[in-house]
Amino acid sequence: MRVRRLAAWTALPLAVTLGLVACGSGGDGGSGESNPDAAVRIEIAEPQHLVPTNTNETSGSQVLAALFSPLVDYDEANKPHEVAAESVTSEDNTTWTVKLKDGYTFHNGEKVTADNYVDAWNYGAYAPNGQNSSYFFEKIAGYEDMQGETPKAKTLSGLKKVDDLTFTVTLSEPYSEFKSVLGYTAFYPMPKAAFSAPGVLAEGYEQAPVGQGPFKMKGAWQHDAKVEVEKYDAFPGEKPKVAGVEFRIYQQPTAAYADVLSDNLDVIKTIPTENLSTAGTDLGDRFKQSSASSLQVLAFPTFQEEFSNPDVRKAISMAIDRDEITKSIFKDSQQPARSFVSPVVAGYRDSTIGEAGEFDPAKAKSLYQAAGGPARIELSYNGDGGHKDWIDATCNQLKTNLGVDCVGTAEPKFADLLTKVKAKQPVGLFRMGWVMDYPSMENYLGPLYSSNGSSNYYGYSNPEFDKLLAEGASAANEDEAIKKYQAAEDLLAEDLPVIPLRYGQNNFGHSTKVTNVEMDLFDRIDLVKIEAVK
C-alpha cells in the first residue's frame, strides 16, 4: 500500500511535465509575406513626456517619431537630408532659411505652416515653461532674453515668418552644422490646436499629441500600459508598410524579452544584459546589433596636480587592455574606442589617440614612472549603472601593468558623482558617458572639452582648441567644418583629458512576426521600414 502511494506521488509530477512539454512544440514562423494590414508591437518604457520640446528620452521620442515628420533626417553617411523641409539654406551660416514642403497636414486637418514651427519653438525656448529640451534653441538669437524667472521676451527674436511655407532662423553666432541640429525631436512643429492661448499648451494635448507624421494617435496615451498609433492616410511623405504600431510599456526589459521569445511582442529595443549571452541562441538571426552614438570614457580631473601631466594620462591609457574588457565583460555588446567622436558621425577617424590607444604594458610602466604618476589611483563611478565589473577589471589591469594601487569607488547615483566633480573634490578618475544630441563632430567636442562647455567637468581648457571649434562653426560648408573639428580632435589626442574606452552598440531583437527591423542613431526603430509578416 505504502509503496503504491509513493509511486503515485512521483508519477503525477512526471506526467504533468511530459504533458507540458508536448504542448510546447506548436507554433510556426508564418508564410513570410508582408502584411500591410497588421500592426506591430514595440517595447518602450513609460515616456516622461509626449511634447516635442519636452521629450529628451528615447521612449518618448520613439513615439513622437511615429507622430511627427522631422525637417531633416540623416542618410547612410549620417549627413542631413530634407524630409518635411523643401530646403534648408544659408549663405553666412548665421541666417538660415527653411522652406517647407507643401501638402503636409496635421492629423486634425490643419495645414502645416511656418507659424506652427515658430510657435512650437517659442514655446520650447521660454524658460518658465520648463521644457526639457529648451537648450536646443540656445543657438538661436534671442534665447538669452527668454531665460530667468521673469524673462524679458516671450518669443525668439531670431525666428521670422516670411510666408506661409517659409521662415528664417537667425543664430546668435554662425554655426555651419545647424541643418543637422534640425533633425532633433525638439524641432517638430505643433498645430494651432495644441495651444489654448498663445504660448500656453492646451490641457489634454500631451495625452493625445497631434502631429504631421506618418501615424496618428489611436485613442489617448494609456499611462504605464501602451500608446497606440495608426496610419495617417493624408501623409504626403514615404508611407509606412504597417497599419499601425502599438508601443507597449514595460518597466523591466526582462519582461519584454520573455514576451519577444513567446511572440507576444514584436520588437525589444534593448536586450537586457543578463540575456545577452544567450540572445544569439534564443533569437538566431532575429538578434540584431547596430552602432549607437554613445561613448564611454574615463575622465581625468586635469586641475589636480597628479594628473596634470599628459604623459601620466597617456601611460594609464596604454595600460588598459580595451579589447580584453570589451570581450570578457561586455561580451562584445560594445566596441573598443580609440577616438573622441563616435563612428556614427561624419568626420570620424579610426584611432585618433594613436599610440595611447595601443595596449603596451611595458612602455606604459616606464612612461608612467618617468612622468611621476601617483602611486594610488582611484576610479569613481555611479553604483546604480552596472559599472562595477568593468571598473574592477580596469583597476586590476592598472595594478598589474603599472604597479600602482587602484580602487574603484562607487557613488550611489550619477548625480552624486557629478556634484562631487563639480565641487572639485578629489575623486580620482571618473567615468563619463556621452550620447549625442545630433550627428555632428561638434556635439562630441564642444560641450565636453571647450573651456566653457556645458559638460566640461575635467577643467580642460585649451585656447587653441576653442579657436578651432569656433572656426569650424563658421566654416563655409560642412566639409570645411569637419577639417577644423578634426584638427581640434588632434589637439585632444595630444592632451588626453579623457581616455576613450568603448563605443555603445544597440542590441535589439524581434519576433517571428516582423522583418526589416532597423534602429537609427537615436535608439529608435525605423517605423517606415518595419514590416509585419503573415
Binding site: 504542448c23 513626456h49 518658465p128 521644457q131 526582462t254 519584454a256 520573455a258 547615483k413 548625480a415
Partner: protein
C-alpha cells in the same frame, strides 16, 4: 463590539499620521538630487531645474524646510489631493490606474493561499506524519527557500516562454487567465507559511482536552474537526492572512515587474528608483491605510472567532 471598533478606529488615525511623518522624513533624508535622478545621466537645463525646484519646494531644506513641506503635503492630503509626481502626473490618477490590477492580483494570491494552503494545512494536521504531511512539508520548505526574485522569472520562463501554458506577461489590462500565473507565484510564499501555520495549529488543537471531551461524548469526527478544532485553529491563521493581505498589495514589486503588471508595486519601484519623493510618499500613505484596515478586519474577526477577546 461597537466600542471595540471605535477604539480601533481612533488608534488608526494616530497611526496614520505617525507613519506618514516617518515615511516623509525618510524620503526627505534619503533624497539626493531628485531632479538629476529624474533625468538619468542627461544634463538638466537650468530652466528645467528652476521650474521643478519651485514647483516642489525643493529649495526648502533643513528641519524648517522639512516641516514646511510635510505640512504642505498634509494640507493637500486632507483635501483629498495626493499632489503630483515629479514627472507632472497626478498621483491620484496613477494610483487610480494602479489599484484595480494590484487588488485583483492580491485577491488571486489570497485565494490560492486560502484554498490550497489552509486546506492542505488542515489535512496535514489531521494526518500527521503521513506521506501527505511529509511531502507537503518538504514542498513548503522548497518554496520558502526560493526567493520570489528567482521563482518568478523561473515560472515565467518555464510556463510562459518554454511551454507557453500561460501568457509570459500580463500587461496593463489583463484577464483572469493572464493574472493566474503571477497570482500563484505571489501567493506561493504565503501559501507555504499558511500551510505550516494551519498544520501546527490543527495538530495541537487535536490533542487538546476539549477535543478529547467531545470525542468521549461520541461526537462524529467531522463535527469535531469542522466546528471545534477549526474555529480555534484559525485564529493564528487569520492574523497571518490579515497582515499578508497588506504585504501582497505592497510586496508585489518583484512579481509585478517580472510580469509587467503596472500596479502599485510597479509604481513604487519606479518612484524609489527615480527618487520621486511625492510618488513614494503618496503610495506609501495609501498602503498604510490598507494595512490599518486589514488589521482592523483581523481584530474584528478575532472577536467573532473568540468572544473572550472582545470583552477584554
Amino acid at each position: 463590539m461597537f466600542r471595540f471598533i471605535l477604539r480601533r478606529l481612533l488608534q488608526m488615525v494616530l497611526a496614520f499620521f505617525g507613519t506618514t511623518l516617518i515615511v516623509y522624513a525618510l524620503m526627505f533624508a534619503g533624497q539626493g538630487d531628485p531632479i538629476q535622478a529624474l533625468a538619468g545621466e542627461r544634463p538638466v537645463t537650468a530652466a528645467q531645474r528652476a521650474y521643478l525646484t519651485e514647483k516642489f519646494h525643493l529649495d526648502r531644506t533643513g528641519v524648517g524646510g522639512f516641516f514646511y513641506r510635510y505640512f504642505d503635503y498634509l494640507k493637500n492630503l486632507l483635501q483629498g489631493d495626493l499632489g503630483q509626481s515629479l514627472t507632472g502626473r497626478s498621483i491620484g490618477d496613477i494610483l487610480a490606474a494602479a489599484w484595480p490590477v494590484t487588488v485583483k492580483l492580491a485577491l488571486i494570491a489570497m485565494a490560492v493561499t486560502v484554498l490550497f494552503g489552509v486546506t492542505a494545512g488542515v489535512l496535514a494536521g489531521i494526518r500527521r506524519a503521513s506521506i501527505f504531511d511529509n511531502s507537503t512539508l518538504l514542498l513548503t520548505l522548497l518554496v520558502l527557500g526560493i526567493p520570489t526574485i528567482v521563482l518568478a522569472p523561473l515560472a515565467q520562463y518555464l510556463l510562459g516562454v518554454r511551454w507557453q501554458l500561460f501568457p509570459a506577461t500580463a500587461g496593463a489590462d489583463p484577464d483572469l487567465y493572464a493574472l493566474l500565473l503571477p497570482g500563484i507565484v505571489l501567493g506561493s510564499l504565503s501559501l507555504a507559511t499558511a500551510l505550516r501555520l494551519t498544520r501546527t495549529s490543527v495538530a495541537e488543537n487535536l490533542r487538546a482536552d476539549y477535543v478529547r471531551t467531545a470525542r468521549s461524548k461520541g461526537l462524529v469526527r467531522r463535527r469535531i474537526v469542522s466546528v471545534h478544532v477549526l474555529r480555534n485553529s484559525l485564529i493564528p491563521v487569520v492574523t497571518f492572512l490579515g497582515v499578508e493581505l497588506g504585504n501582497l498589495m505592497s510586496g508585489a514589486i518583484i512579481t509585478e515587474g517580472v510580469f509587467n503588471i503596472p500596479g502599485v508595486g510597479f509604481n513604487l519601484f519606479r518612484g524609489i528608483r527615480t527618487e520621486d519623493g511625492p510618488l513614494v510618499v503618496g503610495i506609501v500613505s495609501v498602503l498604510v491605510v490598507v494595512y490599518l484596515v486589514s488589521n482592523l478586519v483581523v481584530d474584528v474577526l478575532y472577536a467573532v472567532l473568540d468572544p473572550r477577546i472582545r470583552y477584554e
